[in-house]
């Protein structure tokens, strides 16, 4: 951890040589901006090499151990584990299930998230701002708690099923919340947010002029949407699809709790591990990662073909929202409220459960008793604060590191053409393709011994390992946010700064950073909140001193104390919401373009 920011800071502080004659970073044919002004070739060379090495070490290297594990048996290299994997019917089934389920999750999340984004960015109605904020709330549903909330809500003995059963006097619950459709519902429910947020952001950037130009050229609204709006949204949609696909591939809790007998790779890994077959678990991990990487590569190719860099003049026209007639507005408002209410049901459930005294709510439609006992017992415990402070501290460290890395990486990726750019581009996205468990396992393996020469340090059991895990997991999120900001940053601003006599570091500090910061900070906030509630990697790597909030929740759950867990979860959600509110408040009164 202490090693990690050094290449960047070293390069940034060393006095750069004025001579730019040696073009160490040679331009790559066909890259986006290869012939732009090249500042301080030395500094950026150092940065590029440093960051690539750092990512190779932290992102790729640990996973090699997993890969090697999948190829070894009795001290020899062999393909037998792979043969076993592909010979097994249930393994093939799990692979196929993972793929189609992830694809379907992308589709369904998009179907919810995109129209929702249009609704909130294109129409004006009372409560639009508040609802728009609320619609992003599922970001704040920590993984562990989310699943439990669904159980209470949609499970066959849950709120809704019991309600319907009671209402119609059914002998049996109306449905069983299990199988692929249940998983799909949970995925769509929690992942539409990516589409919602990405599309909203893109829509707010989209110059209305384009739409008007299309209309002036005689395009029908449908054509204008298809030919103008949709292509302009493409990068955002690609990003969201990627995120949803990766998250679905790695999703463990939902398939495990709601899957019934439905196998996916993520649960197979778990099962193989528990069954004492680490080699098969490694094969399953490699296959899962391979599928994710394949998808990533496909989308990146697609993305590379269409780069929409500020075709406009950088002036964002005030977004024009459509106001419907009276009746239309009422209808719109009602449906928006209903929709958001529906989407927030899991949160409501968590809140509800947190007020149910333990052991009272079994077969009733609504809880028969209410109290704040869960909260009082929570607050009476002296240990309450430690996990919260631990999480805050570790998430902060990880996020700060993320911001530094993302800024430099995004600058290099957007502004510079150099050999190895594709490698760097792949490395900053790769952590998305690796499920949290895989990351945790690989980190635990790599950093459990002290072999400095092999790039392995003893981090397991120390404070550093969790922030490191959070940092790695959030690299793609923050870097993408920074890249988006850099793409919107007019390159002539940096040139203007240089022509005014500012050196590279001054230009970055005084021009690029302040302008990129809002976008970067938005990404960082999301990363911070994710780290705050991170569970999958934490559970494998935490120590007593570093136990985070999610572990405290897990502990309550293990003790069959749903109320306590829910109360903790409510605290966590509140904490996240406060962070986001303050954060976005700060960001939004910062400079905007």
């Amino acid at each position: 951890m202490t090693e990690e920011p050094s290449p960047a800071s070293r390069a940034a502080t060393s006095a750069p040589e004025p001579s730019a004659i040696s073009h160490t970073l040679s331009p790559v044919p066909g890259s986006v901006t290869p012939h732009r002004w090249r500042p301080k070739v030395r500094v950026t060379t150092l940065l590029g090499v440093g960051i690539t090495l750092l990512l190779l070490w932290l992102v790729l290297y640990p996973n090699l151990f997993v890969f090697v594990d999948s190829l070894r048996a009795r001290g020899e290299f062999t393909m037998e584990h792979y043969q076993r994997f592909f010979a097994s019917r249930s393994e093939r089934e799990a692979l196929w299930n993972s793929v189609w389920l992830s694809g379907a999750s992308v589709l369904l999340s998009g179907l919810i998230g995109i129209p929702l984004a249009f609704l909130f960015s294109r129409y004006e109605f009372p409560g639009r701002t508040i609802l728009g904020g609320l619609a992003a709330m599922p970001v704040l549903l920590p993984p562990l708690v989310g699943v439990i909330a669904f159980l209470f809500l949609y499970g066959e003995s849950g709120f809704l099923a019991r309600g319907i059963q009671e209402l119609f006097g059914l002998a049996l619950p109306p449905w069983r919340f299990t199988g692929p459709w249940a998983i799909l519902l949970v995925h769509a429910y929690t992942m539409y947010v990516y589409f919602f947020l990405f599309t909203s952001a893109a829509l707010s950037r989209l110059d209305r002029g384009y739409g008007e130009a299309a209309a002036a050229l005689g395009a029908s609204p449908v054509t204008a949407f298809r030919r103008v709006t949709l292509p302009m949204l493409a990068p955002a949609l690609v990003g969201a699809s990627l995120l949803v696909f990766m998250t679905s591939m790695g999703s463990f809790s939902a398939p495990y709790v709601f899957g019934g007998g439905f196998r996916v790779l993520a649960t197979q890994i778990f099962v193989s591990k528990l069954n004492g077959e680490p080699a098969i678990a490694a094969v399953e991990t490699v296959v899962l990662a391979a599928v994710s990487i394949l998808f990533l590569a496909l989308l990146q190719r697609y993305e590379a073909r269409r780069e929409y860099t500020g075709a406009g003049k950088g002036t964002v026209s005030g977004l024009h929202r459509i106001r419907l007639g009276r009746r239309g507005t009422i209808l719109l408002t009602l449906s928006a409220w209903a929709l958001v209410g529906f989407l927030l049901l899991p949160h409501a459930t968590v809140l509800l459960v947190s007020f149910v005294p333990e052991g009272t709510w079994t077969t009733e439609f609504i809880p028969p008793a209410w109290s704040t006992a869960n909260y009082t017992s929570l607050f009476s415990e002296s240990e309450l604060l430690t996990p919260i402070l631990n999480s805050l501290r570790m998430a902060t460290i990880a996020t700060l590191a993320n911001v530094v890395l993302a800024f430099v990486a995004a600058y290099l990726l957007v502004r510079r053409g150099f050999r190895g750019k594709r490698l760097l581009g792949a490395l900053v996205i790769l952590p998305w393709a690796l499920p949290g468990t895989v990351l945790a396992v690989s980190l635990a393996t790599t950093f459990s011994v002290n072999q400095p020469l092999a790039g392995r340090f003893l981090l397991v059991g120390t404070f550093a390992i969790l922030p490191l895990a959070y940092f790695i997991r959030n690299i793609p999120l923050v870097t993408r946010a920074a890249m988006t900001s850099f793409r919107q940053l007019d390159p002539s601003l940096e040139e203007a700064s240089a022509s005014l006599g500012a050196d590279w570091t001054t230009t970055m500090r005084r021009v690029a950073l302040p302008i990129v910061l809002p976008g970067l900070a938005a990404g960082a906030l999301l990363a911070f909140v994710t780290a705050l509630g991170e569970f999958v990697a934490s559970v494998m790597l935490y120590t007593f001193r570093t136990r985070p909030i999610s572990i405290a929740i897990l502990s309550e759950l293990r003790a069959f104390n749903f109320g306590g867990a829910a109360a903790y979860a409510v605290l966590l959600i509140a904490l996240m919401a406060v962070v986001l509110l303050i954060g976005y408040g700060k960001v939004s009164d910062g400079p905007t373009q």
């Binding site: 001579s19 004659i21 950088g314 040139e495 022509s499 006599g501 500012a502 001054t506 302008i515 373009q593």
Partner: protein
């Protein structure tokens, strides 16, 4: 002051700038003029240091700055979109260059105030730049570039983001202001009128090559080639055949009957073959219209073609028959579009209130002024 020595810039498959050489004196204004993609912006960016040349040298005051980073070149730059820093107010924008060069606080305040005064924006110091109008933003950009007092100022299409009315006024103010500062300036523009109004000399570029460097007058009067002729001002072109020649001067035959006197391109080309095909360039204001004589429209206007005056081009006998497509009154001139028989359309510009001609006419050239002719392959 500024010297470019066979400056070239090659991208993978294309040559954006091909061996550009020119020299610029102190206090001189030069425009790089050409259609988009001609390499003028790339040239400017190489002078600024944002692009490194594939070959050639750039010297500022005799110092080779070819590989010097932009920030050490001491050139001010005004960007097409102004590139004002959106997170800084007017004062901070203008002060940016001074701060970057480590000026002291008092000096910064003084120089910023002076720069804003000069562009008539005193009192706008604390305004966010987004709140300013396009014209004001342009002036802030100018003030920002001038504040560190660079010896050389580069302006990339400085007026293209302004609307037409404002553009004309700003153009004149800009010239006055820059002349008052005494700075050396290079403009990039695709607008010939703008180039004429702003600069002392103009470099016309096309396809990465310098086609002609000269004063506006030279460019207009004696364009080096057909491209320059057509790009600078309005020009009519007529295919012709050289009949006889005497040094630079030659007599050409246009169509079957009309003989006009032209000056040939001095650098050979058509000059090498005395009876080669050429293309005659004639400005609209050098053409005159005569009412078509007699009732014989397509007949034989040059019946008395052996008259000596025919060579002057002004006589009816050397007129080109055609008919008027449109007459347009444009204030100081009247313009006619004339469709020649079996030949292209010509634009004829007559000073003042031209006669209301209709139907058939004869087009003749102004007497005494030899027309330019270029080799046919030149276009």
């Amino acid at each position: 002051m500024l010297t470019l020595e066979s400056l070239s810039k090659r991208f993978e498959s294309t040559t954006a700038v091909d061996s550009l050489s020119l020299e610029l004196g102190r206090g001189e204004f030069l425009s790089l003029l050409g259609p988009s993609g001609c390499g003028k912006t790339t040239s400017l960016r190489m002078i600024a240091g944002f692009e490194s040349p594939s070959s050639g040298r750039i010297l500022v005051n005799g110092r080779d700055v070819t590989h010097v980073s932009p920030r050490k070149r001491d050139t001010g730059m005004v960007f097409q979109n102004y590139a004002l820093f959106p997170h800084l107010d007017v004062f901070e924008n203008v002060a940016f260059g001074l701060k970057a060069r480590g000026a002291a606080g008092a000096e910064i305040s003084r120089k910023v105030a002076a720069a804003l005064e000069r562009v008539d924006l005193s009192g706008y110091e604390r305004r966010p730049v987004q709140d300013l109008s396009g014209g004001q933003q342009q002036r802030v950009a100018l003030a920002r570039a001038l504040a560190p007092e660079p010896p050389l100022l580069l302006l990339d299409e400085p007026l293209s983001n302004l609307d037409a009315a404002l553009r004309e006024r700003t153009r004149d103010e800009l010239r006055t202001l820059l002349k008052a500062v005494g700075i050396t300036a290079v403009f990039v523009t695709h607008d010939q009128e703008e180039a004429f109004a702003l600069s002392d000399r103009i470099a016309v570029m096309n396809l990465g090559q310098l086609r002609q460097l000269g004063t506006p007058e030279e460019l207009y009067r004696s364009p080096a080639d057909a491209f320059v002729a057509s790009f600078v001002g309005r020009a009519n072109f007529l295919d012709a055949r050289v009949v006889s020649r005497d040094g630079d001067l030659a007599e050409v035959m246009i169509g079957e009957h009309a003989r006009w006197r032209v000056r040939l391109d001095s650098d050979g080309g058509a000059g090498s073959s005395s009876d080669g095909d050429v293309r005659v360039m004639v400005r609209p204001e050098l053409l005159r219209l005569l009412p078509a004589g007699g009732d014989d429209p397509g007949g034989n206007p040059g019946a008395d073609g052996n008259d000596d005056t025919a060579l002057s081009g002004g006589s009816r006998g050397n007129g080109l028959p055609g008919w008027i497509v449109e007459r347009r009154f444009a204030g100081s001139t009247t313009q006619y579009r004339v469709q020649l028989f079996g030949a292209p359309e010509l634009l004829v510009s007559v000073p003042g209130h031209g006669p209301r001609l209709e139907g058939r006419v004869l087009v003749v050239a102004e007497e005494g002024v030899p027309l330019r002719a270029f080799p046919r392959s030149g276009l």
